[in-house]
Subunit: 256 residues, 2 copies
């Protein structure tokens, strides 16, 4: 969908509730996690120790409803939110303004949607974009490095890539370490503990055609998996695939 | 100097006190900052907000004398340390074992020495290596983004690069974002507030020859400048240029 980030955020604030893959191409999308200040050090350390799934792009001040890369309202301008209490997913809603707290620190975390534009430009098709669906995401059998009270499994997103384009997909996404970077795993989903690609833990299944290899990237839903495992008293996150659209261009995160 | 990281650390533990540029080529060197746990969140946030000067490679548990990328003793195995009390530089010593505290959190921060091997391989001369001296470092007039109680100026290291190789130096170092990455400034030291390249704030001056451009990279001494400005009650750091030699290969930090 076209429009500036501010325009698109306004539509989300007005109630539009859709996955954001393909929205505002060229503008960086971000995962959101808001935690009480008491848990903020542990999460920042968790992200430092797990930079592939948790590349932190920005951190708000406690209670702040915006961030330096997000001039909108963090509590209303995403298409959908998930609310966790003691690690329990208790609600999914289109805004969380009434739940905001003065001690909430918000983390904006890089999202693989950022490199999808670069993949398309390099001629690598992105199936879930063609299908108009959400990217499939899976919990894996790989553990993140714990930090303080936080631990949890690595969550990955998957894109089927034609075998002859896998190397291109690696090369292109390697250049975006701040948005998950190179794949963590290529082929052999069973080695990640994924029994069936057709039943993702988050998002929508996509077709994997003959001659295509499932390619797995670290996913910014990993923090939510850590919340579910580690049970902080309170947390707000984006609904998987329903991201924060920031005021920063993807090109800012390209290396070199 | 040749030898494994463990062997070289042992020599430093025994008292050898030299700048580490050129030591253990291929093995990653790191800046050290140890702060009381009470200041750790502010510093981790400072580093997230200032990733070019403060790329955190590893964080210890409180009181821990090693780290996952450093199997030696953090309190004895660097060639020299600086001790700060209330932001005041009070002592430089070859070890700090007796000053270690159970609440100290140690941050290991990427160092530009890592990309010097890559510069040499690309045919870019590194003057301070040829001269056998420490790299020159300068405080600048650029402010870091503050975080909590921490603020301070950007510190940079400088290498003179022949004009025809400046683009190569940018390209090569861009691939190492975890160790300061691309230069922050090329030429025109006066725009950084550096009045005289011959009088660095840290390290040794080097000759800038005709046809050479001074190229400036963000420097891991920046955290020490923040300590001096922000005055946490206690801090230990490496002596500038006298780094922690880790157990990780430089290649780990190369993108893509």
């Amino acid at each position: 969908m076209t429009g500036t980030p501010a325009e698109v955020r306004e539509r989300f604030r007005a109630g539009l509730r859709v996955p954001t893959s393909g929205y505002c191409p060229g503008w960086t999308q971000a995962n959101l996690l808001s935690l009480p200040k008491a848990d903020a050090y542990d999460f920042l350390l968790f992200s430092q120790r797990n930079p592939k799934p948790c590349p932190v792009l920005d951190v708000s001040e406690p209670g702040q409803r915006s961030a330096s890369i997000f001039s909108g309202d963090l509590s209303t301008d995403l298409p959908a939110y998930r609310v966790y209490r003691d690690g329990e997913f208790v609600d999914e809603r289109s805004e969380v303004a009434d739940l905001w707290r003065e001690d909430l620190v918000t983390f904006l975390i890089g999202c693989s949607f950022t490199f999808e534009t670069a993949l398309l430009e390099a001629g690598v098709p992105v199936r879930h974009l063609d299908a108009g669906s959400n990217v499939p995401m899976y919990e894996t059998n790989r553990e993140c490095r714990p930090a303080g009270s936080l631990s949890g499994p690595l969550v990955v997103s998957m894109r089927p890539v034609p075998a002859e384009l896998v190397a291109t997909a690696v090369r292109v996404t390697s250049r975006y370490p701040a948005v998950h970077g190179a794949p963590v795993h290529i082929g052999s989903p069973e080695l990640l503990g994924i029994a069936d690609l057709a039943t993702p833990d988050f998002g929508d299944a996509v077709e994997v055609r003959p001659g295509e290899i499932p390619v797995f990237w670290a996913c910014g839903v990993t923090p939510q998996a850590a919340v579910m495992r580690s049970k902080p008293s309170f947390a707000i996150a984006h609904a998987p695939g329903h991201m924060a659209i920031t005021d920063v261009r993807d090109a800012e995160f390209q290396i070199p």
